[in-house]
């Protein structure tokens, strides 16, 4: 074959190797169906950029807490009565609480600043907004990505807890899902709130200090809720951390509570998550259309 013939012969192959974009109708149909996942993919790519932080947070935090509280503090606490903690060690008592709290704290970060970044700082939502994706799908995509983070982080956390021998029941792994649900129950209403903020005047820091921290401390995390006076016990009742923690305890060491209460925990967490999701969808659509 001559050189020329080889060249002309190769030309069509090259052309065939450069595929064309599919038609706009196909783009639109795919986006209508999978759009939320397309955006989730983008958020996960960004998260990969700080993947090590996520892993370190997932491993480092439980190790530090479990060691300080469950091993250090426990030497004082366990000399009292184990009965106060449902007959298990202090370590087993606080492990589910720490797992749930970590997810809620992650929610407090992932559903605040990134939302502000999307609407205002770097306006990252407005890129996909010009594509076939809808505002509702952009919101859903971010939620899917954060949910993936909740599951991964909670699984690592649970792994460490299990290594400490702090999850005696065979059903302990279910607390990974409970933590994810608690993260969404707390995070989605917060995401809706974040979508309403036009200027950052430290609102998110306030949420962390005056909502997340009190919930963390007074949600039956380090001591049973009923040891608190009634005047502050309500904090636990409205706290996704308390509902999540109690649920986590049921699975991780067979904590005995009224079955109805278990149902209440699940309904409460699901209800908050659904409420936050409906509100977030609406606020995203409204803000992006203006």
């Amino acid at each position: 074959m001559t050189k020329e013939a080889a060249l002309t012969g190769s030309a069509p192959t090259t052309a065939a190797a450069a595929p064309r974009a599919h038609s706009p109708a196909v783009s639109a149909a795919r986006a209508r169906r999978w759009g939320a996942f397309y955006y989730a993919e983008q958020v996960l790519r960004v998260m990969k950029g700080y993947g090590w932080t996520i892993v370190m947070y997932g491993v480092g935090q439980p190790v530090a807490y479990l060691f300080a509280m469950g091993v250090g503090l426990a030497t004082l606490v366990d000399t009292g009565s184990n009965a106060a903690f449902g007959g298990v060690s202090y370590l087993a008592f606080i492990a589910p609480a720490l797992l749930i709290s970590a997810a809620v704290m992650t929610a407090a970060n992932e559903f605040t600043f990134p939302v502000m970044d999307g609407f205002k700082w770097r306006r990252v939502y407005y890129g996909p907004h010009a594509s076939p994706l809808t505002p509702e799908q952009i919101a859903a995509g971010q939620i899917i990505a954060v949910t993936v983070r909740f599951v991964l982080q909670s699984a690592i956390y649970f792994g460490v807890v299990a290594l400490f021998g702090a999850s005696p029941s065979g059903w302990g792994w279910v607390s990974i899902l409970v933590a994810t649900l608690a993260g969404l129950a707390f995070g989605l209403p917060l995401m809706a709130y974040a979508a309403t903020i036009k200027d950052d005047r430290g609102q998110f820091a306030m949420v962390m200090r005056f909502i997340v921290m009190p919930l963390f401390l007074f949600s039956g995390t380090f001591f049973p809720l009923d040891t608190l006076p009634l005047a502050v016990r309500w904090i636990g009742w409205i706290s996704p951390i308390w509902h999540g923690t109690e649920l986590g305890r049921v699975f991780s060491y067979g904590y005995e509570e009224a079955p109805l209460l278990t149902v209440v925990h699940i309904v409460f967490l699901l209800g908050l998550a659904v409420f936050g999701w409906v509100l977030t969808r609406r606020l995203f659509a409204k803000r992006m259309a203006s």
Binding site: G49, R123, P132
Partner: protein
Amino acid sequence: MFRVSELVSKESPVSSPAGTGEPQYVITAENLTKSYGEVTAVDGISFRVPAGEAFGLLGPNGAGKSTTMKMIGGVSQRTSGSLSIMGLDPEQHGPEVRAHLGVVPQQDNLDEELKVRDNLLVYGRYFGLPMSYLKPKADELLEFAQLTDKAKSKVDALSGGMKRRLTIARSLINEPRILLLDEPTTGLDPQARHILWDRLFRLKEQGVTLILTTHYMDEAEQLCDRLIVVDKGKIMAEGSPASLIRDYSTREVLELRFGSERNATVGTELEGIGERIETLPDRVLIYAHDGEAALEQVSARGLHPLTSLVRRSSLEDVFLRLTGRSLVD
């Protein structure tokens, strides 16, 4: 949920009766209006854009250009009027309309945490495009945007002009036939603007319909086949840059500077020279067919400007004539 086959059959870009030999309009707007409470940003504008045209919206800041672009882009709901993009109403078929478009927004909204090439890949995914298509396409577009050697850089590290070119490259990832550009070169230095213009020319040559807003008349003259001059939400004039200049201005303009004190008062002494006189704070403009002849008449009256300049009329003059003020305040 739509089936693809249904959409393909619905998707007729023709808004003129078939077989009449008239051009196919990809965008048709009639009495398009957008109000925000009491404020009417776009006030009943009508226009049609045939396929392959470079169509401009020229006007000062706040004229309603961006609002119009958002409605065309299917991200902002109109208050009244009708709008059709490729034969589809963007309010009922948002995703379908947006799938046809490439959009370059006024403010860059690239993902600064991702690398340059990843910005293109991720954006292509929003159209459901497979990686087997996106990877070579991203490389091709980086070449087109002269960013190949920046492929692995973070977006943070790019200059303003590079970011703009990346945004344009991103808007082309789905091979759109209509490209919306909202003030594509605002804030860029002259060299960066010329590179961008060159890239836009190439797209036009490939038959891409360009819709662009600008408040630079040189940009409008360079890029647009046809444009509408917009002010306060209304269309003031419509036509090609050359025809607008012919209709609303004279062939030449004589610019005189008498110093800021004198400019305001010298107007009456110049009366009768040229076809029209416009007094601005910094200079006096005399619209005349022959600028040199007008300048001779000025000297003959014993008036001696500090500087004088004869130039061809531009769109700026058209705009000044129509609205009584300059484009960039």
